[in-house]
Amino acid sequence: MRRRGIFYALAGLALTAIAAKHAADPGDFKRPESGGEGKLYGIGRAATAEDFAKHQYLVGPKGQGLPKGRGTAREGRAIYMQSCAACHGPRGEGTNDYPALAGGQGTLKNDSPLPTIGSYWPYATTVWDYINRAMPYQNPGSLKPDEVYAITAYLLSMNGIVAEDYELDQRTLPALKMPNLDGFLSDPRPDVK
């Protein structure tokens, strides 16, 4: 019991320091104090570089998490034809069971809109992230960063967003402005009165 008491006392001290730091910060919600009644449970172990290495890239809209690498549409075309075209069509037009990846710009107000990467997706980083995590369908996670950059470039070139030789990398990919970037609104519901 005595040892546990010391543990809580130490944890309490550490937390007081954290709480004090937090108190001065702005925030739109009340940040909780750690460990229920101001105590840490002391569960879990510190994550190491080895643990992080087991996880793949989580990519954000500003390019957070993008790995080093590069690729152009010209390079991506061959990989696309081999790994993607069977389902998404040679020109990204889609098939019965799989979505179109290209085209559809200007159709969103039509009776039959065609939402694709080019006509709908607001961020180019989403394309990289999704291909890297989930494609090709039968073998997700098998592509190397350079290949993902190249396929992303090819899909964006199909949609007229980059030229065939435009090089995508950690810096240029998040800098691209997608055509439908301003096409999204926050949730207005309840919208039926």
């Binding site: 702005p26 909780p32 449970y41 996880h55 999204f184 609104l185």
Partner: protein
């Protein structure tokens, strides 16, 4: 003290003994019929072989994707049996060894930590009943192709008792940095499904769950670990949870920046439309069932709201011309399915059965016409999401119940 003559203690004791003796005599005269000995004990139970309710799903060229639907028309009460809970997968159901499974919690935190399943079970646990509904549930109703059965029209719904750790407890353990506003959750399925969740919600009522209806999660429901994000579209309750990363902004994953969005008639789309609005449906009598002659039936169904408790369910048998208050049966819990019922005498004529629920915010379930007058009929990348209109079942003179 007046007792009814129908109460058992009114029966004359001597008469009772006489009846009993006569009964025994009759038994003795009857030839002994051989009785078949029953089945032995078994370590893990199965339902009766006479029971046939199943999840249903269409064929798919990619069997690992797609969804299966809960047979709501066959279920009682509010809890969805785990084996019948709807599924939605993007790359198949992974087989994960819980002894090898870990949850990484990193990003804008004071102490990035790794938790094993044993670690997570050491935290104080909670059990809560919540529905999980796919954003696309009833999307065909929106489109104008009403489902033939309630399984078809509303079967992407389940309601379970989930057991786990409040996400808040785990976040407190790692310590959230001041700039933190969102959490990116990632599954350990082959396609590493990922979504961004506002930190405010994460600290409110989100669970890191390992239990479902008293036992471990089913593989289809995220074994060994999943998020349960109460009241919000099912997709955000990431299954096979492997990583949570605290960030300052949403990461615009494909599911939130493209798929689970709502395209409006002006060409703009709503995004981060998380809440599943109040919705109800009659499960008995419902499409595909047949009424066995005129007379008494109990109209019964489910109501649920992502914004809190169901406070009222009304039922109409004349296509919404008149309404009667249904009874709310059993537990009425926030962000959980609630069973309602109304006694009904079928006169053998045509009837159009509808239910309409109200939740504790005062929101009333709308009609399809009300919804499409605002939201139109523009299918987004994944069809229609977040539809919660009133559903009609038509009772025909021959007792058949149908969707049209």
């Amino acid at each position: 003290m007046s007792r009814s003559k129908f109460q058992p203690d009114h029966i004359d004791r001597r008469r009772f003994i006489t009846l009993g003796a006569a009964g025994l005599g009759a038994l003795a005269l009857r030839p002994a019929a051989a009785r078949e000995f029953g089945d032995p004990r078994r370590p893990y139970g199965e339902r009766s072989p006479f029971e046939r309710a199943t999840r249903t799903f269409g064929t798919s060229v990619t069997p690992g994707t797609g969804s299966s639907r809960t047979p709501l028309q066959e279920l009682y009460g509010t809890i969805t049996p785990s084996a019948l809970h709807f599924e939605r997968h993007h790359s198949g159901v992974p087989k994960i060894d819980p002894n090898a499974h870990e949850l990484l919690l990193d990003g804008l935190v004071e102490r990035p930590l790794l938790f094993t399943m044993k670690d997570l079970r050491r935290f104080p646990s909670v059990s809560r009943i919540h529905f999980i509904e796919c954003a696309g549930n009833s999307g065909r109703e929106h489109e104008g192709r009403p489902g033939e059965t309630v399984q078809r029209s509303h079967g992407l719904l389940g309601n379970s008792e989930w057991t786990g750790v409040p996400l808040k407890s785990v976040l407190e353990e790692v310590g959230i940095k001041p700039k933190a506003r969102w959490i990116i959750a990632e599954g350990a399925d082959a396609s590493r499904m990922s979504r961004s969740i506002p930190l405010k919600k994460a600290l409110d009522d989100v669970l890191v769950a390992y239990g479902q209806n008293g036992e471990a999660l089913r593989p289809e429901q995220g074994y060994p670990l999943r998020l349960v994000v109460p009241g919000w579209e099912g997709n955000i309750s990431i299954k096979w949870l492997g990583r949570l990363m605290v960030t300052d902004e949403p990461f615009m994953t494909r599911e939130e920046a493209a798929i689970y969005t709502d395209l409006m008639p002006d060409g703009k789309a709503r995004w981060f439309s998380f809440e599943m609005e109040a919705k109800s449906v009659i499960t008995r009598p419902s499409g595909g069932q047949i009424l066995d002659g005129r007379g008494f039936y109990e109209i019964s169904g489910l109501g649920w709201s992502g914004r809190g408790r169901i406070t009222r369910v009304e039922v109409s048998t004349d296509s919404g011309k008149s309404w009667a208050d249904a009874q709310l049966d059993g537990l009425v819990l926030p962000k959980a399915a609630t069973r309602f019922s109304l006694p009904w005498k079928w006169d053998g004529g045509e009837a159009a059965l509808q239910s309409r629920c109200t939740d504790e915010t005062g929101y009333v379930q709308p009609t399809r016409e009300q919804l499409i007058s605002v939201r139109g009929l523009h299918a987004g990348p994944d069809g229609f999401n977040h539809y919660n209109g009133i559903k009609t079942w038509f009772v025909h003179r021959d007792g058949k119940v149908s969707h049209a």
